[in-house]
Symmetry: C2
Subunit: 359 residues, 2 copies
């Protein structure tokens, strides 16, 4: 076994350490993608495709259902926390240990050790998840080769502490701009104050009562918030412009269009000069009522939780594939200098997925 | 008459041109202050004192009243508008023509040509009016030699289009800071939004009804305005901090302390985390009921107007000397590249002041 090959006979924890020791900061995933592709090409039961630094491997056993196991290869920038380090409590430290090379290791172990799964399998390894949405490798594969991603159900092995996180909330960001007229503040009645004109906007936000709809048994929790406000010209000038940046996080029973219509309605009587849609990403329904999802829930145990933040499960949802997050590690440790994962959590996830796919 | 002397036999318009051609941008007034001092020392009826680049000249005739004529020597930076230029319509163009070398020329002409005024006279020429308040030469003389500035009434020869502007409004700037707690905007209920917490502040501002009190026959006009607002951490973070900068311009029947108490009261129930006084300058009462002022009004004609912005008349007011602005030129042309003054306006002001002081 040379330095230039991944040894898929290592257990998932050892394999995670090996993956962490191969840097793959967003935009620099080629070395790791090459190793993953080569390792998968050595497995006779899989066909392997590649698009850029995205690798997709599939079984073709003619099973009644197909499930997708997906994970990203990239990490945030290394913060002096590579190579990995295993401490005396079997905790593995290092950049990507939790987000999400432990999940990738589990994918690779399932690929290597389950040649005859009870459902056809698709393994997706993609790049640039940690950067701007338009660079995201999963999005690029979805655009170029949507047929590679078809399936009945998908599991993203993002860190979820081995709990199932179903669906995800959508996010919409709008800029609300009010207009006024400049004047010297000593003669303020000669102008019109754009910051004062934003008062009804803040009043609507402060009074907003977010919905908490239950979907597929999961209680989501919406939120409508100002995330920025900016206005002012000089300390003696009545400002002619004020901008409130509003972020709406919405449950997946609303479409992108519904969400936008709702926000427009909330601020309908606020005398807004410019209403700019700055960013929009749809939510994803949990899809837990699908038979493949139900079987998955039964195999992994526990109860599903709603995913409040936006994740790539939404990309699968847009392709008509219900998806959940399920992976080792605590998401709150992601992107931190002291990122780490318990090795037993990695092995637990691997075992639960194998149980689901071989029972 | 050498280049190094001012010729006070020139008429006030010619003298203005001569003064404009001697650059005296704030901080660089020494050359002009030297010329002014030397010219005044040549006048036997005056005693002359100097403090830094501030020159004070006084008669000592034992008159029942003493009036002060004051003006600043400095200008804003030259904008390729020096030397001065007299056009075919007798309009004088150049930096300082209106603000306020024409006023200074009138002061110098009165000093030179009215050796036996009906009231004792004090002429004040000071530096650094166009820059930070703590550099202001009038303020420095007031601190070091308040006796030089005593009087019954003062006229600042700032451009007022030869209308009398009485008193000035005070100005108070406060920072109102609200506090929240950061959280990811997808889980906004885990935090507290400091921008939303500023909503009651903006509501108070938008609903505020300013007073328009009549003082000494002049209608002032207050104003309470947000001049800046800032809040926000990142587009996906509930902000923990928001700052509203509020400017209160108040009529001179309120003291600084009254004004501050009023602003505190307006926002008393707004749940403000920090209330910071950022700037405060008191207003000045018009003092038009004083006999010297009444005689002045009668001599110059027209009707007095309230001064809404803050001016150095407030410094005289603080010394117990009622003061007004009265000078040639349009204040709206001050600080502009196309700054200019009609020569007849300069001569008119000189004549009106002479009439008052010799009748």
């Amino acid at each position: 076994m040379s330095e230039s090959e991944l040894d898929l006979t290592l257990d998932a924890a050892e394999l995670t350490a090996r993956l962490v020791d191969i840097p793959s900061v967003s935009g620099d995933e080629k070395a790791l993608a090459d190793l993953v592709e080569n390792a998968l090409r050595g497995l006779a039961h899989l066909t392997v495709d590649r698009h850029g630094n995205n690798v997709v491997a599939r079984t073709h056993l003619g099973r009644a259902e197909r499930v997708v196991l997906a994970g990203h290869l990239d990490t945030v920038p290394i913060a002096d926390n590579v190579p990995s380090r295993l401490d005396e409590n079997d905790v593995l430290w290092g950049c990507g240990t939790t987000d999400m090379k432990s999940g990738v290791a589990v994918q690779l172990r399932i690929a290597a050790t389950v040649p005859e799964p009870n459902r056809d399998l698709t393994f997706v390894f993609y790049d640039q998840e940690e950067v701007a949405a338009d660079l995201n490798g999963l999005g690029k594969v979805a655009a170029a080769h949507p047929d590679w991603l078809t399936g009945d159900f998908a599991v993203l092995l993002e860190p979820s502490d081995a709990e199932v996180e179903g669906g995800c909330q959508g996010t919409l960001r709008v800029l609300l701009r009010t207009k006024g007229e400049r004047a010297h503040s000593a003669r303020s009645w000669m102008g019109a104050n754009a910051i004062h004109a934003a008062s009804p906007i803040l009043a609507k936000l402060a009074a907003y009562e977010p919905r908490r709809p239950v979907i597929d048994g999961l209680e989501f929790h919406e939120g409508l918030n100002a995330v920025r406000i900016e206005g002012g010209v000089a300390n003696n000038v009545i400002p002619d412009r004020c901008t409130v940046t509003v972020n709406f996080r919405y449950a997946p029973d609303r479409s992108e269009a519904d969400a936008l219509a709702h926000v427009r309605e909330v601020f309908a009587d606020c005398d807004i000069d410019e209403f700019v849609v700055d960013d929009s990403s749809p939510g994803a329904l949990p899809g837990l009522s699908h038979p493949a999802a139900a079987a998955f829930m039964e195999a992994v145990g526990g109860h599903a939780m709603p995913k409040f933040g936006w994740t790539d499960v939404s990309r699968f949802s847009a392709l008509g594939v219900p998806a959940v997050n399920y992976g080792p590690g605590d998401a709150l440790l992601a992107h931190k200098v002291d990122e780490r994962v318990e090795t037993k959590a990695i092995l637990h996830c691997e075992e639960r997925l194998r149980a689901w796919l071989t029972s």
